[in-house]
């Protein structure tokens, strides 16, 4: 069943059910009330009848009769019965004479009053004792016009009302359920229009419908990410072919030039040297790519152990000092926590060295070996590393692409590199459930903030080990 129909049916059923319950309750309670009320009325009439028949004083009985006639409404088929009774025999006699059931008369005699209904006719009787101590049964009977006619009328009204409401509610429900999905249909139509060719299109937000707008925002967000992914893929292909192409072209050019004519051994050697260095560069790129894809899969976790980050940083600096002795990396431990437990994370040392050396070498490379500060601190649950350089910075428009493989910022033309380091670092940090943030101002420098969750170790961890 369509959701639309389902909503309509649900609305109709609940509404009609409630209305029916309401109508039935009204009818039922009024029905009950009308009967009790009618017996009460009959009983009153019986006592008045008794009063004026065996009244206190004969003088008053006439006026009683008068008042009753004038004030009390005549009931339909109203009848009065008066039987003098002194013993059981009299009751039997009265029963035979009037045709009233013996049980009813006995009830009145025993309980001083009783009610009875035969078909449409209602009976109410009382036992009355006059001034001379003579017992009488006074019975008044009448048809309940109110119950038979008014209640019927009420029932018809309720039935007609339910029918009418059913029609109106059905119409409204179907209309409502049809149109409540209008905005969603519009969104669906709009999304269908968007393909890979026009992925820049977005869904317009609608009026002030909060839920629908939430959906639109979510979809637009998704489209944004898709667009970025497409962009990244395009960039990747063009950048990768460029990165692989450059050394290949120079290898091919070199070889072609050499093969044009006979050369001396020295010339061949120089040429082969150049070819070798280009091939090495190619190999380097392939290696980094392999690393990138290796770290891209979280399931290949490798060896993760408790690692002290300050040691890892110092080790990285030592290694990097050998590669680039001119660097000015300063390790700032002014905020180093006193408790060594707050320096330990669960990590893979080799991968961490790789990530740190990437960040450090970038900082030194893009600042031409100006001072680079590395600070280490820890908060309640996190370890924070800040690397600050005074380099060329990253243009703002490039900032969102810097984690894409092979992407290189627009101001890096004079620097050697192939755009794999940062995505690799990001993957490594992601494997460690950390975060990598970059804040940069072009021309002023870059700050890299890396956070790792601290290893959750017991307080006496160091003691236990020793």
């Amino acid at each position: 069943m369509k959701t639309q129909t389902r909503i309509a049916v649900f609305l109709i059923t609940t509404n009609i059910l409630m209305l029916l319950l309401f109508g039935l309750a009204i009818y039922y309670f009024l029905y009950n009330y009308s009967y009790t009320d009618f017996y009460k009325r009959l009983e009153t009439r019986a006592s008045i009848t008794a009063e004026y028949n065996f009244g206190v004083k004969n003088k008053n009985s006439e006026s009683y009769k008068q008042i009753r006639k004038e004030i009390l409404e005549k009931l339909s088929e109203e009848k009065e019965y008066i039987f003098p009774v002194n013993n059981e025999k009299d009751i039997e006699k009265a029963s035979q004479k009037s045709g009233l059931p013996l049980g009813f008369l006995n009830d009145i005699f025993k309980n001083k009053k009783a009610n009875l209904q035969i078909d449409d006719t209602f009976f109410s009787g009382i036992r009355h004792q006059n001034t001379d101590a003579e017992e009488h049964l006074v019975i008044v009977s009448a048809k309940n016009y109110y119950a038979s006619n008014h209640l019927l009328f009420l029932r018809n009204i309720i039935l007609i009302a339910v029918l009418l409401v059913f029609v109106v509610v059905s119409y409204i429900s179907f209309y409502f359920s049809k149109h409540i999905f209008d905005p969603i249909k519009k969104i669906t139509d709009k999304v269908k229009e968007i393909s890979t060719d026009n992925i820049h299109l977005r869904i317009p937000e609608v009026g002030n419908d909060k839920e629908i707008n939430q959906l639109v925002i979510t979809l637009n967000d998704l489209l944004n990410r898709l667009e970025t992914a497409f962009e990244t893929q395009k960039n990747f292909v063009s950048n990768a072919s460029h990165e692989f192409g450059t050394p290949l072209t120079s290898i091919m050019g070199e070889a072609e030039v050499m093969l044009m004519k006979k050369r001396t051994v020295e010339e061949y050697e120089i040429s082969l040297q150049s070819i070798l260095s280009q091939a090495e560069r190619l190999n380097e790129i392939t290696q980094s790519l392999l690393y990138l894809s290796y770290t891209g899969y979280a399931n290949k976790k490798g060896l993760f152990e408790i690692t002290r980050v300050d040691e890892a940083l110092m080790h990285t600096k030592e290694m990097y000092d050998k590669v680039n002795p001119k660097n000015h990396i300063q390790l700032d431990f002014s905020l180093l926590p006193e408790n060594p437990l707050k320096l330990k994370i669960i990590g893979n040392k080799q991968l961490l060295y790789l990530a740190f050396s990437n960040i450090l070498s970038n900082a030194c490379k893009y600042s031409n070996n100006k001072p680079v500060t590395v600070s280490l601190a820890s908060t309640e649950g996190q370890l924070v590393i800040m690397v600050k350089d005074q380099g060329i910075g990253i243009p703002e428009e490039d900032l969102k692409f810097i984690f894409d493989p092979f992407f290189r910022a627009s101001n890096t033309a004079h620097f050697d590199g192939h755009g794999i380091g940062l995505p690799l670092t990001r993957n490594i940090i992601k494997m460690h459930e950390g975060q990598l943030g970059i804040s940069s101002k072009e021309g002023e420098g870059t700050v890299v903030k890396i956070t790792f969750p601290l290893a959750n170790l017991p307080l006496n961890y160091g003691l236990m080990k020793s």
């Binding site: 700032d332 002014s334 905020l335 180093l336 926590p337 006193e338 408790n339 707050k342 500060t373 600070s375 601190a377 820890s378 908060t379 309640e380 924070v384 800040m386 600050k388 900032l399 969102k400 984690f403 990001r426 940090i429 992601k430 975060q435 990598l436 943030g437 970059i438 804040s439 700050v447 903030k449």
Partner: protein, 160 residues
């Protein structure tokens, strides 16, 4: 040896630099630190009714402030006996004197050349401190810990 010190704060990382500086220059002393903030409660009767000091302070915390505070706590763990962030809600000399005496403050450290930020109902009570008969030391900051100033920077994260 334990010493109670007070440092005015406006919930910026900058104001915490004073604390970091003070602690780094005072080894072998355990400090009871009070970071004091001044804000007048609102005039609105409903806000007065539901005024809670703890909530006002908690609402003032920014992520970078929390981060920097935790860093300091970790860095100087052995020099900190206790650290509380408190507030006074009356900008008067007598209230301040009363507060300082009640807390048993031994020394007050203020930022040498910076004034507290006072947005909204907040007030700067530092000018009243010199009338309190408690030594007030003005701390000049060295550029020793750059990390602080960078914490509040605008980072674009690789993923969230």
């Amino acid at each position: 040896m334990t010493k109670t010190i007070l440092i005015p704060t406006d919930f910026t990382v900058r104001s915490l630099q004073v604390l970091s500086e003070v602690l780094s220059n005072a080894p072998f002393i355990r400090h009871k630190i009070i970071l004091l903030y001044g804000e007048q409660p609102s005039d609105s009767i409903t806000e007065m009714l539901f005024f809670r000091k703890e909530k006002v302070i908690r609402d003032k915390y920014k992520p970078e402030f929390t981060e920097a505070l935790e860093m300091i706590k970790n860095r100087f763990e052995s020099r900190i006996e206790s650290l509380v962030v408190d507030m006074i809600s009356q900008n008067s000399r007598s209230a301040l004197v009363e507060y300082l005496n009640n807390q048993g403050v031994a020394e007050i450290f203020v930022h040498g050349n910076l004034k507290l930020k006072t947005p909204g109902n907040a007030f700067d009570f530092t000018q009243n401190l010199k009338y309190c008969n408690i030594p007030v030391t003005s701390v000049t900051l060295e550029q020793h810990s750059f990390a602080f100033s960078e914490i509040s920077g605008n980072f674009s994260f690789a993923y969230n």
